[in-house]
């Protein structure tokens, strides 16, 4: 009993982690499977075919590249506009500021089904051909809100005295923006862009409504699920997970080093 009481938190933590990571582990393991029949659901035999011939199944790699392309374009445009909107909302008082704040928030609160279907209705009414451009427009539209919110938070958290100090030190408004405001907000903008890319990359519902015959990676997976997902898709999914994992580890490592050097510095100086 005592042993259980002592280790209860640890046990629960392990259970939660297992719950979170078992699905990912299953996908990773099955990417090394050589399945019998169409469905890659039960273990048959170890194979690295899917990894060595990752583009071997038609559609897997082309949809993957397309999703990355759309993600990059959508993020670029949404970040530029989103950051500018955030600056306007935080820095200036103007008529309709509160309304704009509310309207920016709405797309995040609206169900994707509603957004996707109403966009489709709009494009059909305009007789706009569905495809790459409609998907891109849709992605820019729904990522922009998230980017505005993220950049706004960073701007609001910035000490207004820093810009005052810059003005006090002979920097005109343009120089203050270039040398103080922008460098300080940049991490917030990059974080927002990363979030925007992640949202765009794995969006299915809005994309599906407005894609026409265009096949993005999530749309491909959905289609393939009906007929049996090729092992290559498992390999690609695992790859994406690994890239994300490496990314997170690198950021953690940099932060850790920075904290250590900071502690060392303070330790020496006091």
């Amino acid at each position: 009993m005592r042993w259980l009481r002592r280790h209860l938190i640890g046990i629960i933590a392990i259970l939660v982690l297992v719950y979170l990571f078992v699905p990912i582990a299953v996908v990773g393991v099955l990417s090394f499977n050589s399945p019998v029949g169409k469905y890659n659901t039960s273990w048959n035999e170890f194979s690295i075919d899917a990894w060595t011939n990752i583009c071997g199944v038609p559609g897997v790699c082309s949809s993957f590249v397309l999703s990355i392309q759309i993600g990059l374009f959508a993020t670029l445009v949404a970040t530029i506009f989103g950051a500018m909107i955030a600056f306007a909302l935080v820095r200036y008082r103007f008529r309709g500021r509160d309304t704009t704040n509310l309207l920016i928030f709405l797309p995040m609160a609206t169900p994707e089904v509603v957004l996707g279907s109403s966009l489709l209705a709009l494009f059909l009414n305009l007789a706009f051909p569905l495809g790459f451009w409609t998907v891109l427009i849709a992605h820019i539209m729904f990522t922009i809100s998230f980017i505005v919110v993220a950049v706004k938070a960073r701007l609001q958290g910035m000490d207004p005295r820093l810009e005052e100090a810059s003005r006090d030190l002979y920097a005109n408004p343009a120089a203050t923006f270039r040398y103080v405001t922008f460098p300080l907000v940049l991490p917030g903008i990059l974080g927002a862009a990363l979030l925007g890319f992640a949202l765009s990359f794995d969006d299915f519902i809005i994309t599906f409504f407005n894609a026409g015959t265009l096949v993005t990676f999530p749309v491909y997976i959905w289609g393939a699920a009906q007929r049996g997902i090729p092992v290559q898709a498992y390999a690609l999914a695992t790859l994406v997970f690994l890239v994300a994992l490496v990314f997170v580890l690198v950021v953690q490592w940099i932060n850790h080093r920075r904290r250590r050097s900071l502690e060392a510095a303070v330790g020496i100086s006091t």
Partner: protein, 372 residues
């Protein structure tokens, strides 16, 4: 090391505020302020929070637009000049160092913005002055509070401002470091010869550092002068209690004989020199500083000189602090007085409950107007 004044195109000059006013809606933060801060002086604006001292400083820096009035540096009118064009620099409360730039770049910031190409010599010289040479490549986040403070001073001073403004610069430091930085700032000011305008709510800090202290309250300057003079002879009840401590009696000035006024309260008479009283008849307050008081047991009242002012009372609290003892004395009319007594005698301190006579010299009294 000496820095030649004028590197910023400005010689050290008098800073003059003329009828300076700032209101936020109905609230008047600074009320028709007129004052001159002489070139090269260490000037302290002292007051409680919300008295308008920081607003005054921000108007001089150009970070706040005055509602009315003028700000002159020498014969140059700064009033409508943008902050980034004013030959004035600020050490901000909590420093506002640029977190993404290292110490060197923080200090070089002002020079670079003014288009000066070769900054290394000046920056290193300035870092030398504030003893931060070895830390030039550190980021502000890697410095201790005292070091950050010195970077903030260096970053402002390197521009050779006509006036250096300091907004509660020591507020974030612990007591020991604060004492150290007070001496340091005073040394730097003497070395560079620039006028320092120092805003603070800490009366001890203002008195130890400044040549001239202006005590501010509710947007106005109550009294201005050398610390010794205003401490010795406060002219308002606010100054008497904000700058140090005071004991007060409420009463009337009833007659004057020569250069001494007679003050009457609770059936007793007290003397105050006419030159130390702002009122010469009618309702008034008599004040005296706690360390000017002597205290004897009631039984030894005869030993007190007859012409000295006397108040009898009963001790309610005694706190012994080594070099001195602080007594709280309840006067016969029920006011609580503070008495500081140096521990020079061999006898034990008096105890709570003891009946005592508190006495002081007529020339230590000061007379104040009853208005706060």
């Amino acid at each position: 090391m000496t820095l030649a004044p004028g590197a910023n195109g400005v010689d050290v000059a008098d800073l003059t505020l003329i009828n300076l006013t700032k209101s936020f809606g109905d609230f008047i933060a600074v009320d028709d302020l007129t004052l001159t801060i002489p070139a090269g002086s260490f000037f302290a604006l002292l007051g409680p929070s919300g008295c308008g001292k920081t607003t005054t400083l921000r108007m001089v820096a150009g970070l706040e637009d005055p509602t009315a009035g003028q700000i002159m540096l020498g014969d140059r009118d700064l009033t409508s000049l943008k902050a980034f064009k004013r030959p004035v620099n600020t050490v901000f409360q909590s420093y506002a160092l640029f977190p993404h730039l290292d110490v060197f770049e923080n200090v070089a910031f002002g020079l670079r913005r003014r288009g000066i190409k070769d900054v290394a010599g000046q920056v290193n010289q300035m870092l030398e002055l504030v003893e931060l040479g070895p830390l030039a490549r550190r980021k502000p986040g890697q410095l201790s509070g005292g070091q950050q403070q010195r970077v903030a001073v260096a970053r402002a001073l390197i521009n050779n401002p006509g006036v250096l403004l300091l907004d509660e610069p020591l507020g974030a430091l612990d007591l020991k470091l604060r004492r150290q930085m007070q001496i340091e700032l005073k040394r730097i000011q003497t070395e560079v010869g620039t006028s320092f305008v120092h805003v603070t709510h800490d009366q001890e800090e203002a008195m130890t550092m400044a040549d001239t202290v202006a005590v501010m309250n509710m947007g106005r300057i109550e009294q201005m002068g050398a610390p010794v003079d205003i401490y010795d002879l406060p002219t308002t009840r606010f100054v008497a209690t904000f700058l140090g401590q005071s004991n007060e009696i409420e009463g009337q000035i009833v007659e004057s004989s020569g250069d001494e006024l007679v003050f009457s309260a609770y059936g007793q008479r007290f003397g105050v020199p006419a030159s130390r009283s702002v009122v010469d008849q009618g309702p008034a307050y008599l004040g005296v500083r706690p360390e000017k008081l002597g205290i004897v047991p009631a039984g030894q009242a005869d030993s007190v000189a007859a012409q000295a002012n006397q108040v009898s009372g009963k001790i309610t609290d005694t706190s012994f602090a080594g070099v001195s003892t602080q007594y709280m004395v309840m006067t016969s009319w029920g006011d609580e007085w503070i008495v500081f007594e140096q521990n020079r005698s061999a006898s034990q301190p008096l105890r709570p409950g003891d009946e005592v006579v508190v006495h002081w010299l007529v020339e230590h009294s000061f007379g104040l107007s009853p208005q706060v």
